[in-house]
Amino acid sequence: MPRLLSPKILFLRIAAAALLLFLTMLLCSLVGTEEISLRTALTGSADALSPNPDFEILMHVRVPRIILAAIVGAALAGAGVTFQAVLRNPLADPYILGISSGAGLGAMLAVISGVNWTLWGRSPIAVFAFAGALGTVWLVWMIGRVTGKFHVTGLLLAGVVVNACFSAVIMFLTSIAKSQDVYATIFWLMGNMNEEDFFVLWAGAGAVGAGLVALFFISPQLNAISFGATDAQSIGIDVRRTQFLAFAISAFITAVAVSLSGLIGFVGLIVPHAVRLVLGPDHRQLLPLSSLVGAMFLVAADTVARVVVAPAQLPVGVITAMVGGPFFLILLMRYNKKVGWLT
């Protein structure tokens, strides 16, 4: 017998997930390729005269990177929920409308053109990727609008084809670029987590947080739209406006995530599904909880990526797919009968 979602239950679940996320982050900050002593890190002074590598590693390398992973994971999972709802397609993920190839193309152009400036501490790769991601979504959205008012199929097809075209351009650039440039981009295309500057993290957290709150505002409308555009319209929902808001906001937070860390697959696809399988499809709950679980998942995956082939590192996208895939399949087999949501 499914219980109705009361504000109290929702609050308790969000609080529990947030606590779990905090604990995960705490735990992961103690794991790394170098043994560090927490006591030395926290009591030793950080002045320039006596360098304290434990403090440097903990506070300037691990913690910023873990915060970054949390921001990116939350953004991707939240955007994934929204795209799945609006496109009414279980295969939708944050990259489905061409964001990945647009961002990849931007990054590739930044590397090949060899520009060397920074914008608010961000490298040209990040800036170009951000612009490429937003530009592509805008292009796909405009094409989709021509094909019809509520026809998400047109939008999806436009996204897939733009994706394929841009991927071909990326392949072309890869084949003519200098080999060392190609290598640099390949790492970026598989997810490239680095520790970032304080302001970058602060601004990223603000943008993603605000975007997720905005998506939460429209989550009741998303519930209605996931039954179909005409049904939603018949109960008085402005479908066009909701679709536009949902696309714009999730494209924006995805672009922020991509510009922070490159392309990390799978988080935006499986985390929403996993949460939906376990807790049900109500978007008022699905959205915040998916974001928190996505953050947790990426923090854990990135920690594995940091240490598993130490002292080298794996691209985090490898871990999200290799560990996340089987885990998701187990969930699918275990819960699908109970929820019956695929039938």
């Binding site: 390729t33 440097e56 080999s179 790492f187 302001f199 603000g206």
Partner: protein, 299 residues
């Protein structure tokens, strides 16, 4: 509608606050030219050729960290490891407590340098793509580590030996060389590469004309048209080169009309010596020259 306005205002305020906080507690700006490096005591190298250079400058005591691919000189393998050339681990570098980190100038290393400098670590970036760059890099390393004399000596040694080789080979024909980077699909060294420089210094010429790619992928047609007299393959993996040589012979026998195949002039040489721009530069040139002019230089 009100909640949306609240959200927008909050977003703006959040960023202003962050900007203010970042300005107040911002990291000290790091200047590129540190006035006094006067002999760094703890050096980390993140590229195998830089490791070789540091050893060549007698800095073996001062090296505290190298990458996993730094395998020459053999003593380098016993130093602490800081990740790979492509993905250096910043955590491991900091744990080495370096006072100088030497890097090359491609994307991964640039990002590493930016992050290390933000934390106040001194970095030296050497931009080594050509033989001239190599000499400039050696000089820069020498200055940074108070080893100017050794640096000068190293450069002088390489230039003297190269000049002598040029004198020996000046009356010889310049055979047309196909430098195979990868056999399937076929990729060779083009003209705009340091490999091309090495071939010319060794008394040969690149069989491949100007191309769009640095390392162009080419087809069998171009190999036949290029009238290749010598085929050289650097080894790609550690281990026995004779296996790669057998594979190379089997592969190239499909094109019996190519002069290099007909004359059996297919060579597999140690890849590390010829693909790292480092102190063993002359050794690499000499290896190539022996393939190109066996009658003059002997095997």
């Amino acid at each position: 509608m009100r909640k949306w306005w609240f959200l927008c205002v909050f977003l703006v305020l959040w960023h202003l606050l962050g900007y203010a906080l970042a300005r107040r507690s911002g990291p000290a700006q790091w200047t590129d030219a540190k006035p006094d490096r006067s002999g760094a005591q703890r050096i980390v190298s993140v590229a195998p050729n830089l490791t070789e250079l540091l050893y060549a400058l007698d800095l073996d005591e001062a090296i505290v960290g190298v990458t996993l691919d730094s395998d020459y000189p053999p003593a380098a393998t016993e130093k602490a490891k800081v990740g790979t050339f492509w993905q250096p681990s910043i955590e491991a570098i900091i744990a080495c407590k370096p006072d100088l980190v030497v890097t090359l100038a491609f994307q991964q290393h640039k990002s590493l340098v930016a992050r290390l400098r933000r934390m106040g670590y001194d970095c030296l970036t050497t931009d080594i793509w050509t033989v001239d760059d190599l000499f400039a890099g050696i000089e820069a390393l020498g200055r940074a580590t108070a080893r100017e004399a050794q640096a000068e000596q190293l450069i002088a040694g390489i230039t003297a030996k190269t000049r002598r080789l040029r004198e020996i080979l000046q009356d010889q024909d310049r055979p047309r060389v196909l430098w195979v980077v990868q056999r399937e699909p076929l990729r060779v060294a083009g003209q705009n590469t340091f490999i091309n420089e090495l071939i010319e210094l060794a008394g040969g010429q690149n069989a491949i004309g100007p191309t769009l790619h640095k390392y162009p992928p080419i087809g069998a047609e171009q190999v036949i048209a290029a009238d290749v007299q010598v085929i050289i393959e650097p080894t790609m993996v550690k281990g026995d080169p004779s296996r790669q040589r057998d594979q190379a012979l089997a592969h190239w026998h499909r094109l019996p009309t190519v002069p290099a195949v007909a004359d059996g002039r297919i060579y597999v040489i140690d890849g590390d010596v010829v693909s790292r721009l480092g102190p063993r530069l002359y050794q690499g040139i000499e290896t190539i020259a022996q393939c190109l002019h066996p009658d003059v230089l002997g095997e």
